[in-house]
């Protein structure tokens, strides 16, 4: 028990120390930067407080900060749910049937190496806002979900399939009562990774495209006005929101896959 406390103390102490050293070095760089492009940590903090207090009223982006957050979240949600709705069934079928695999694998392997961001210029001219951004999120989230689902189906222990067969299942029951629940931990991992990439993709898409609101647009505009404190504050909030979303999905993942945990 004492050993546990000591380790906790070390982790906490060194954690604080690492932050402190990090910001100290940062501050030194900021102070010595003669072009004044790198904001000082304290300025970022001030900008952050200001954003929280005023909700970015009158910040020349034309929107409240909460509207930017909401715009980004909406685009990510659409893209992510669309990706999950298509990728999970495709992955399940691909993992299950050689026909489905032969149909989907070549196309997926062809498109997968293209970073979703490379689609941004095409998406901007092809779709209307917000569907261009949704499309980018969709592409970013789709592949990890599909591939994790396939891996999940292929990792189902064959002895469970044998057991189910001797208990009298038909094909559909085998699929719905064994294959799907057995692959659930893998599917959840895919969703978590997909959401992370989707969040990256949305900011990239908003940075490049001119559109109505969004966190990517926010840091883009702030950068144009030379408000680098606000740029970094925006970056920080993008990180926080991403972290919160991933944490929420991880929580659901843990709950749904509790049976798979090894004691």
């Amino acid at each position: 028990m004492k050993e546990k406390h000591r380790i906790l103390l070390v982790k906490l102490g060194f954690g604080v120390l690492s932050f402190f050293v990090f910001f100290l070095i940062w501050d030194w760089f900021a102070v010595t930067d003669t072009r004044h492009l790198l904001p000082r940590p304290l300025d970022i903090f001030k900008a952050l407080i200001q954003i929280v207090i005023t909700n970015g009223k009158g910040d020349s982006t034309g929107h409240l900060f909460s509207e930017h957050v909401l715009a980004s979240l909406m685009r990510v949600s659409y893209g992510f749910f669309l990706a999950a709705t298509v990728a999970i069934p495709v992955g399940l079928l691909w993992g299950w049937s050689i026909y489905a695999e032969s149909l989907s694998k070549p196309i997926v392997e062809l498109l997968r190496p293209i970073p979703p961001f490379a689609w941004i210029p095409f998406a901007i001219i092809f779709f209307r806002d917000p569907f261009d951004a949704v499309f980018i999120v969709y592409l970013g989230a789709f592949f990890p979900i599909v591939l994790s689902t396939v891996a999940g189906v292929k990792a189902v222990d064959s002895i469970l399939i044998d057991a189910a067969k001797t208990l009298g299942v038909n094909k559909w029951q085998l699929f719905s009562k064994v294959i799907v629940p057995a692959s659930l931990p893998h599917i959840m991992t895919g969703l978590r990774i997909g959401l992370g990439i989707g969040w990256m993709a949305i900011v990239a898409a908003e940075l490049v495209g001119v559109r109505e609101g969004g966190l990517g647009l926010y840091i883009h505009v702030m950068s144009d006005y030379g408000l680098y404190g606000n740029v970094f504050a925006g970056m920080f909030l993008i990180g926080i929101i991403g972290f919160l979303m991933i944490t929420a999905v991880t929580y659901i993942e843990r709950r749904l896959s509790r049976w798979a945990e090894i004691l």
């Binding site: 044998d162 189910a164 001797t166 208990l167 049976w259 004691l263």
Partner: protein, 259 residues
């Protein structure tokens, strides 16, 4: 005992063709299993005991020959043959209750009926109080009880058991053997039980078949006429055990010299 044959195995041959190797697991095996008996299969490692059981279960198809269950040719797995695996093969996301319920759910039984049956089998295998536990929360002995209850709840014609106690420690193993006999006595099921332990076979079986080294075929069938409960340390127990051990040893040596 009215000796009605429930399983007939006729000229059963199984050859596994792998990339380079051609393994003849079973070679022209003939065997009858009678209704209601406790039938044990012993043989050296790799003699095709498990393959035999998997063919009866319908999970593997024979290269030649056939298996008949009540005169019907076995072609695929079905609820009329329950299988208990050495590795338990429980669905890890299902609780004890839901594991036992699996076959009943598949059959489409209404939930009150399922509940009633599950309760009966939970009691039969002594798992009261663990109905809502997940497999990972159970000891190996308890896991195998769940697996036995799951197979029995489906009310199969025969219960196939593939070294079900092979991964249990010695004490648990003895307890499970005793309880299995009690369960067998209550349910009157035909049991085909594969093991590599002569001791286990003599303790459990009405009849024991000794298989030869690969390709597996019948070497000898022994009737065990000892009254139950059997005394593992008794003179009569040894009298049955000794010749079986000797015969098995010959086959094990044959199997080893082949490899």
């Amino acid at each position: 005992m009215g000796r009605n044959t429930i399983i007939q195995i006729r000229n059963l041959t199984k050859v596994f063709e792998k990339e380079k190797a051609r393994i003849e697991a079973l070679g022209d095996l003939n065997l009858d299993v009678y209704e209601g008996e406790f039938f044990c299969v012993i043989g050296p490692t790799g003699c095709g005991k498990t393959t035999l059981l998997r063919i009866i279960a319908g999970l593997e198809s024979p290269t030649r020959g056939e298996v008949l269950l009540n005169g019907q040719r076995v072609t695929k797995p079905g609820a009329d043959r329950g299988l208990v695996f050495q590795e338990f093969a429980l669905f890890p996301w299902r609780t004890t209750r839901k594991n036992i319920e699996f076959g009943l759910e598949v059959k489409g039984l209404p939930s009150e009926k399922r509940r009633e049956i599950v309760e009966r089998y939970v009691k039969l295998v002594g798992l009261q109080g663990f109905e809502n536990a997940l497999p990972r929360q159970l000891s190996s002995g308890m896991k195998q009880r769940v697996a036995i209850a799951r197979a029995l709840a489906n009310d199969p014609e025969v219960l196939l058991m593939d070294e079900p106690f092979g991964s249990l420690d010695a004490q648990t193993r003895n307890i499970m053997q005793r309880e299995l006999l009690t369960i067998w006595d209550k349910t009157k099921k035909t049991v085909v039980f594969v093991t590599h332990s002569v001791d286990e076979a003599v303790y459990l079986a009405d009849r024991i078949v000794v298989l030869t080294a690969r390709p597996g075929t019948v070497k000898r069938i022994v009737e065990v006429e000892l009254p139950r409960p059997r005394d593992r340390t008794g003179e009569r127990f040894y009298a049955v055990r000794r010749p079986l051990l000797q015969e098995l040893e010959i086959e094990v040596e044959k199997a080893m010299s082949k490899n």
